[in-house]
């Protein structure tokens, strides 16, 4: 499959840096800085997840203001914005990771395949199998490479015997593009891998429980450019089977991997649209400031 694999990284990586200039455009945006209503196209047809009027509070402090946003099927949606604008907070709402913070409160609705995940009768254990998450810093468990991948399927009872486990470990590692590198050392600790390999191991671990959505919170910010490129290629491949929401600080990364981009600012969702639209013709002045590097 690698022969016809279409890399989003062209043969000339230096072109990427040329492209950056194109973000700057002369046209004045339509919406000024004071207006905090979401502009653009927050909804899509037949979404995988849809968030309606989501507000999130840490104690008395509101971190997310009335966000409405859909996550489509087989798309990568990038979330960008200056630090502290609530990207991670929003992402963590999508698989209820914020439940682990006791003073964190949420209002609004988040639907996964039409079902509100914040309903009383929803159990977070299967929910998190459906909506997986990859973190900023690679965090392999203190177990072997094999056990790291096998752990999720085991606790969810997806595997009955060793053969099934072997199979799921191999397919997950293959999908994460790590199999060839680790197939001879599956029993070594996950922490013995390099940073980029660890992050792909974490992706394999997430894939292994068969999620529909994968959330990624700055998955490449701790990695070197080559490892980053591999993960970006991988994200592009994974789009075939999963919906992916990725938080990133790198606008080049957002433009390389995503189809849609959402720009957050101080807890408000300012603008959503196709990635090209947001980077080349932003509607909102704040978005333009950010993507042209005048802010954050």
């Amino acid at each position: 499959m690698s022969a016809e694999k279409k890399s989003i990284y062209p043969d000339k990586p230096e072109l990427q840096f040329e492209n950056k200039r194109k973000f700057t455009n002369k046209r004045e945006p339509l919406v000024d800085r004071e207006n905090r209503k979401t502009v653009g196209q927050p909804t899509v047809e037949n979404p995988r997840m849809s968030c309606l009027n989501v507000n999130v509070y840490y104690g008395d402090k509101q971190a997310i203001h009335d966000v409405t946003l859909d996550i489509g099927r087989n798309e990568v949606i990038a979330m960008i914005g200056p630090s502290g604008c609530g990207k991670s907070t929003f992402l963590r709402c999508l698989n209820r990771m914020n439940d682990t913070i006791d003073f964190c409160r949420l209002t609004g609705t988040i639907l996964l395949d039409g079902k509100n995940i914040y309903d009383k009768d929803v159990d977070v254990v299967p929910l998190r199998a459906q909506v997986g998450m990859v973190f900023q810093k690679p965090n392999p468990f203190p177990k072997s490479i094999y056990e790291n991948v096998a752990y999720g399927p085991k606790i969810h009872g997806l595997v009955q015997n060793r053969a099934e486990t072997d199979e799921i470990v191999e397919t997950s590692l293959r999908k994460a593009g790590l199999w060839e590198e680790v197939k001879d050392r599956l029993n070594q600790p996950g922490t013995s891998l390099s940073g980029g390999q660890q992050q792909r191991l974490c992706i394999a671990r997430t894939i292994a429980v068969g999620p529909e959505v994968i959330l990624m919170d700055e998955p490449c910010s701790a990695l070197d450019p080559i490892a980053t490129a591999r993960i970006e290629d991988l994200i592009d491949e994974l789009r075939e089977n999963f919906s992916i929401a990725i938080v990133t600080h790198s606008m080049q990364q957002a433009s390389r991997v995503s189809q849609r981009t959402a720009y957050f600012h101080l807890g408000d969702l300012i603008e959503v649209g196709s990635t090209d639209q947001v980077f080349l013709n932003p509607l909102h002045q704040l978005t333009e400031d950010y993507v042209t590097g005048r802010f954050g």
Binding site: T100, V125, G132, F135, N139, P142, Y151, G152
Partner: protein
């Protein structure tokens, strides 16, 4: 000036002179600075010139002072003995010692054991003279050195003098000296224990000590006395230590670990901030309190309940001592484990939760394995605490060296035997007394090994998450 200044007053004088040196040094630095046009031309701040003067005044005088006092009484005694009449000088050493003691007592005006005879009175007078001569010369020398040092430093203070660097150097050497004292004291203790233990092993071979199955250190003191010849097999004693420590660990590891898990993973912040110090108070209770708690409350309770069940329980049982020791050790395990569990990065927990693991799955499968080296380290430290614990076992475990694994029987431990061997009148070079050193050495080696293992394990853990 009173030439008979006593040592305490002299010490105060030294301090006073140092303070004076500080003030003078500082003043002098201002003076030289003004000569060359202001403070900015001074290499260091004036306090450093003051400190330098004070240090050079205090350190040499204190060294002279302490060495003088260390050797003074010895030299004076030798001089006094030399003037005694021949028939007294030729007495055996211990008798001579008595006489010297009497002379010293006379000098200090204390009650004297024997009738004072003229030659001793003369000697006492001589002693007194020498003593005051010595103090007078010490006073003169010390004050001369102090003033000399102040004057010399005064002369050397000029704007280019790097007083700050000198002071920092001197402070560094003082710190080195202090840590050296700590290290050498430890080494000294170890060596002296080792030396006495070797003397013991000359009488009782090491192999017999390590493999013997019987421990009864009673020996005939005189050749004609009836009594056992003494046997020094350490195994029953060591087994007793192991048995009681094992019982203690059976109590403290589960309770300590689980309370650590509760505190670090489940408890909310307010509960934790109250409960953790409370638990640590357990560590502050004097062990003698635990000891009588074990002997007077727990042991009878165990015997009674054992009696109800038809078990034969000795009044001093390994179980009682072990249980109470276990309670005592809980805070060691829980506090250290709590720290290592807290040190497990939150990102690992997040990773497990994000896979849909429940809280207890996360703890069992991810947090505990990640913290395991640290937990093992804390348990090993607790074990070495248990092995060395003395008071509880002295009061609750008993004296008879039974080779048994039955926790309801009386056993004895290494520490109890050391106490037993050294309490009461003993000849210092009998094997019975020396055996205490051998036991002490063994205890030291075992706890040292445990501590080293614990430290290595803990360090390995640290490397993994930094």
């Amino acid at each position: 000036m009173d030439a008979n200044m006593n040592p305490t007053m002299l010490l105060f004088t030294i301090l006073l002179l140092s303070v004076m040196g500080f003030i003078m040094g500082r003043k002098r630095s201002y003076a030289v600075a003004n000569q060359v046009g202001g403070m900015s031309n001074l290499h260091s701040r004036p306090t450093y010139y003051g400190s330098l003067t004070a240090l050079w005044c205090a350190i040499p005088t204190l060294i002279i002072f302490s060495f003088w006092l260390l050797f003074e009484s010895r030299i004076i005694t030798d001089l006094v003995i030399a003037t005694l009449p021949d028939q007294l000088q030729n007495l055996p050493a211990d008798r001579l010692n008595l006489i010297v003691n009497d002379i010293r007592n006379m000098v200090n005006g204390n009650i004297v054991s024997s009738e004072p005879n003229p030659s001793m009175l003369a000697a006492a007078e001589h002693y007194r003279k020498l003593n005051s001569l010595s103090h007078a010369s010490l006073t003169v020398i010390v004050i001369a050195v102090a003033i000399g040092a102040i004057l010399v430093i005064q002369k050397t203070i000029h704007p280019k003098l790097r007083a700050r660097n000198h002071v920092e150097q001197v402070i560094k050497y003082i710190l080195i000296a202090c840590s050296t004292i700590a290290i050498f004291t430890t080494i000294g203790i170890v060596l002296s224990v080792l030396y006495e233990a070797i003397r013991f092993f000359r009488i009782v071979p090491l192999s017999e000590f390590l493999t013997g199955l019987e421990w009864s250190p009673q020996m005939a003191i005189r050749a004609d006395q009836v009594g056992s010849s003494g046997s020094f097999g350490v195994i029953p004693v060591f087994m007793g230590t192991m048995l009681i420590s094992a019982i203690a660990m059976c109590v403290s590891v589960p309770i300590g670990l689980m309370s650590a898990i509760y505190l670090s993973e489940y408890a909310n912040r307010t509960f934790r901030s109250v409960a953790k110090p409370l638990l640590e108070i357990l560590a502050g209770i004097p062990t003698v309190v635990y000891g009588f708690f074990a002997a007077l409350t727990v042991a009878p309770m165990i015997r009674n309940s054992g009696g109800v069940l038809g078990l034969d329980v000795s009044s001093e049982s390994a179980l009682a001592a072990g249980l109470v020791m276990g309670i005592m050790i809980i805070p060691f395990v829980s506090s250290l484990s709590d720290d290592v569990i807290n040190a497990v990065p939150q990102s690992l927990r997040d990773g497990a939760y994000a896979l849909g693991a429940t809280q207890s799955e996360t703890i069992r499968h991810v947090v505990i394995p990640a913290a395991l080296p640290g937990i093992v380290g804390s348990v090993l430290l607790a074990v070495s605490r248990a092995i060395g614990e003395t008071m509880i076992v002295v009061m609750a475990a008993g004296m008879s060296a039974n080779l048994t694994l039955n926790p309801l029987k009386t056993v004895t431990t290494v520490t109890v035997q050391i106490v037993a061997l050294l309490v009461g009148d003993q000849e210092f070079d009998s094997p019975k007394t020396l055996a205490a050193f051998a036991l002490g050495l063994m205890l030291f080696v075992v706890t040292l090994i445990l501590n080293v293992i614990a430290l290595v394990v803990v360090r390995k853990y640290r490397e993994q998450y930094e």
